[in-house]
Symmetry: C2
Subunit: 205 residues, 2 copies
């Protein structure tokens, strides 16, 4: 981390600290301390604290986007298997403390949706953008399995994100990653039922 420039160090620090204590409770000074950077550097790179939040949300989109793009859940030939492998992948990420596995933009938007429309929009773009990466596989699975229903691939993709966000909150309240994993299990079962797939052991990893 030492070779990174001040801007990137601040973005990484923001994601780490905000996930642990929330956005409003995180001060600019603390961020600078954590990043090993001075306050002057902070306001050189970001006009305001809110601007940092917007940049961090976009940075979160990029880094997690790259993580999911190269994740192994894309390999199955069957689109439904890919969707289920995605769910399993998300479950695997539920390790350690909530501060480690929870979602930066989910945490931030909950606090800032009323005070900054720029932050809200950046967080929305992150969540909805990630959901969008699931739509192709879901749509293909709908066609392949000839599933009929009043719901759309988009709404199911967004529902997976809602379940994950909710699971993070339950985990924060209970202090247990297991309760979060329980919800993800229910989500997996829901998708199996939707597509008439018999309950399966996970195929990947």
């Amino acid at each position: 981390m030492l070779k990174l420039d001040a801007r990137t160090k601040l973005l990484n620090a923001a994601i780490e600290v905000v996930r642990a204590q929330g956005y409003a409770a995180t001060s600019v000074d603390e961020l600078c301390r954590k990043a090993g950077v001075t306050k002057g550097a902070f306001f050189h790179h970001f006009e305001t604290k809110d601007a940092l939040a917007v940049a961090a949300a976009n940075y979160w989109s990029e880094t997690t986007g790259a993580l999911f793009a190269q994740a192994p859940y894309h390999t199955p030939a069957d689109p439904l298997d890919r969707v289920l492998a995605y769910i399993d992948f998300r479950k695997d990420l539920l390790q350690g403390t909530p501060a480690e596995f929870s979602c930066f933009v989910g945490t931030t938007v909950q606090e800032a949706f009323g005070s900054s429309d720029e932050i809200r929009a950046a967080c929305k773009a992150s969540i909805f953008g990630h959901a969008e990466t699931l739509v192709a596989d879901i749509s293909e699975a709908i066609r392949r399995y000839k599933v009929k229903g009043t719901w759309t691939a988009q709404s199911l993709a967004l529902h997976t994100q809602a379940v994950l966000q909710g699971a993070f909150i339950i985990a924060k309240a209970s202090g247990s990653a297991t309760t979060a994993a329980d919800s993800v299990n229910h989500l997996r079962r829901y998708i199996e039922l939707l597509f008439n797939r018999k309950p399966t052991k996970r195929k990947t990893k």
Copy 2:
């Protein structure tokens, strides 16, 4: 609200303001202003700001507990119908802005789980306690419909809360209550599928 004592006015103000802007971003002074009460009164009734949060979480449990206890979703004879009616009831509550329909303890615990174990515990008790009120109906439905599975009534009850909490976050990000209702629809469909119930129009109101 004028006839209420200072303590209750502060609790109501806390729930209203925190839902709109979050816990950390809400100052004691603002709470006092909103409640029409002085700072002296605040610290007479609550030792610290955190103590107010704990009291507000318990107050939230009581008031929402009363709301749900007298709600009409308990009337159907079939336990599964009661569970589905509960889901419908929750969906009906998704009116107006996120600040109006979102959950005080869900918002608060997300910010305070790392800094105050008392707040965390009070919020956990509220969420888990509410989930517990669903367990009897779910258990009865499991018996009546002879459903087999690896999941428990408790885990399904908690999953409903996770979906709702997640739906609140999606609503805050999107600024739309409709997207939250979409997730609740998926939750309802999941429960119908779990119990082999044909998709139904809602029975209660």
